[in-house]
Amino acid sequence: MNGSTIIFYLLAALTLGCGMVAVTTRQIFRAAIFLLFSLIGIAGIYFWLDYEFIAAVQVVVYVGGIVVLIIFSIFLTHQAGEQLPKQSLRRKLLSVLASVCGFLLTIIQVWKYSFTKSAGTPVEPSVGNIGRRLLSANADGYALPFEVISMLLLAAMVGCIVIAMKSPTAVVSKENKAQPEMVTIDQKEQKILVEEEIGEV
């Protein structure tokens, strides 16, 4: 067992451990942070695999972009120190069962399968190579998908704005009229939840 291997296992442990905590913790902010570490662990694995560019993109997009977005949205929708509601035990057990079964099924299949490596001169995953492939319009070029993705991003941007934009006042007032009932129901439920929690404590 050499250093590289150790580093690999450490990265794997970091990724999986943080991922695990991220999906189980009841502090939403902590979940976000652990997600962040998990993503960093993945970036580390990319580094370990010598895919520096991908690792960099991982860090930039996920760590720097998405997680920040998530954290912002958490700030927008949550009070500080608020705990996440508990899920029912039955659901948890079912989910564990489903996940474990799925995991085992997949892993067993993967293990049984012997992968064959393609013969051919390896290509350096350098930024230059990637960029050339990405933008070339040749038979194996990715120019078209690249353009499509850019359109998608644009559409997503427009979509975000439209969705997040405040609705016209008329609609709002209508919604507000319909609101009280909903709220009371919510409040009731929350009350019940709180009581349950108190009971548990």
């Binding site: 999986l16 996920y62 998405i66 996440l84 995991f103 001169t121 990637i130 919510d186």
Partner: protein, 103 residues
């Protein structure tokens, strides 16, 4: 033992099902979104691993990873926009309250 493709696949599978577990057990939409990010990342790991160990003569895995990241970013943005909108309309982002598609 030298880590190889199997180890990477193990990690990605585990991460995938961790994400799945989170997706099922979380009630908060934002945390569900996080689980989805984990799932997407596990897919990315797969792509990279296959590229590295099986198809080193090609770059397709890498390119797909990049696309997935781009899409994931867009998806996250849209999702968060929806979540915020939802929050605005019903003061809650509990998934329980988003069941308009019921029978």
């Amino acid at each position: 033992m030298q880590p190889g493709i199997y180890h990477l696949l193990l990690i990605s599978t585990a991460l995938f099902f961790i994400g799945v577990y989170g997706f099922f057990t979380r009630r908060n939409l934002i945390t569900m979104l996080m689980s989805i990010e984990l799932i997407l990342n596990s897919v990315n790991i797969n792509f990279i691993a296959f590229n590295k160990y099986l198809w080193a003569n090609k770059l397709d895995g890498v390119l797909f990873t990049i696309f997935i990241m781009a899409i994931a970013a867009a998806e996250a943005a849209v999702a968060i926009a929806i979540i915020i909108n939802l929050y605005r309309s019903r003061q809650s982002i509990d998934v329980k309250h988003a069941e308009e598609l019921k029978w």
